[in-house]
Symmetry: C2
Amino acid sequence: MSLPASFDLSAWSRAKQSQVEQALAQWLAVPALTRAEAKPPVALIESMRYAVLDGGKRLRPLLVLAAAEAVASAPLEPGPGGAGEAALRAACAVELIHAYSLVHDDMPCMDNDVLRRGKPTVHVQFGQASALLAGDALQALAFELLTPGFDCIAPQRQAQLCGLLARAAGCAGMAGGQAIDLASVGLPLDEQQLREMHRLKTGALLLASVMMGAACAEPTPAAQQALSQFGATIGLAFQVVDDILDVTADSVTLGKTSGKDAQGNKPTYVSLLGLAPAQAYARELLAQAAAALAASGLPDTRALSGLAERVVSRSS
Amino acid sequence: MSLPASFDLSAWSRAKQSQVEQALAQWLAVPALTRAEAKPPVALIESMRYAVLDGGKRLRPLLVLAAAEAVASAPLEPGPGGAGEAALRAACAVELIHAYSLVHDDMPCMDNDVLRRGKPTVHVQFGQASALLAGDALQALAFELLTPGFDCIAPQRQAQLCGLLARAAGCAGMAGGQAIDLASVGLPLDEQQLREMHRLKTGALLLASVMMGAACAEPTPAAQQALSQFGATIGLAFQVVDDILDVTADSVTLGKTSGKDAQGNKPTYVSLLGLAPAQAYARELLAQAAAALAASGLPDTRALSGLAERVVSRSS
């Protein structure tokens, strides 16, 4: 297959982000959430929408869609029954899990953060009880999105996607990583323990984004293995850069309170390696991610590779 | 089919409860939760086990198993690939959702309860942050249980079970009901609004228990409709009896703080109808549930009918 001469990551991202925004807004609307037998309370939906819409870089959804396109070797058209519909639902489901984790993570009993994406956090805006319930309902909604009628997504794919997402979100994934994080404040972690914590806390969901995207098409075993390597590597890179930004960026640019980790005496890659070595490590991981893509045998991985670069060079 | 002459609900329940206890303990053990690429933190697993094991009447799992047996018209043998394995996983998945909802519901920002099943609540025992994460991880684990290998449960059944559970747990189900409950403290609800709240808060998961059990076998449309009616009715009956017990039982019998609703000025069936009419309503609902079973065309619904009676006559 010959590739189109140029690839514009910004244009690609904008188009996909707008598709994701629109889909999220639609699936988080009252009519979409209302069933014949039960009408969800509008106040709950409002807090869920606040937590999810109009914010965020949508990195995880973009990874899902880029991985799906890379494996399908074609742009994905939305519409019931195809890989495009599955990928769009998977993209939004991953984002709902990410959004719920931020809502719960910001609560007073966890990080007690008042600012997120430049807005008051959900519990500041709606109260703690509502934040708790909004997060709980968002996690469930992620699995609702993945289980539409069988004419929309084939049952085998629904089951695969639910399995990947549940494991990435649960105790051997995101929630487990947060528990390690919680237990490690003020403790001296070595680099291996720090990497293990982040592999679960942030890495699992980023890896799942790539693998769920791949599962929407039909990856060869070689492609699947290479993408798994790619996903794990950018998951790690993401966290290294997060730690760097906590030191180098201000709260306005970050859209959340900066310097929190240092203040909280949390172990980070910067506190462990120093700033310049952490920055070098991030660049090394980017090279590893590129090598994984090169080994995938997939004809066009430019969106994935562009997203990896964006992970490392981002300023917020 | 001729039925065995006698049915001993107590013996049936004890056998099934022990099967469920054993399965939950096994699936909540460190080895079962550890993956090649990630090891969950032991402290998190400990709080999850505390929330789930050695407690509760396991009503929802029993409903799943009773419905599955009623539809299969045979005792279910466990073992990969069969309806028995699917039903046992579905039974445990529903219980995990129920357990997580109790953990979050007991937290200070919600009901602020310190006693549950006669033990200190999870946040009292482990701290609020751990309770929050344990609940989050239990919800994810429910979907992990429903998505094992395809040789264990057929993909179509996995997808169906995930879809039923997600919708029962989410904003048009349990979480939505809790949000209505939260918003209605001190407000004058009429009977219809009260019923709507409970249909979501408690009813959705009880109904899902019955429907998930049915989905593990191959129900006829008539049986499915009748079981749906049965599930909705006992869901309602359960809440009416809960409101009665809040007034008539003491904390020791209840295993949780009694009189909370009255103190919190929450609307209940007792505050709305009075005690004796609420008791009569519960008996009427039991008769409706029996009628639904009679209309199901299923040859043996004695376990389901016994569980419905137990819902209404329970003392805790």
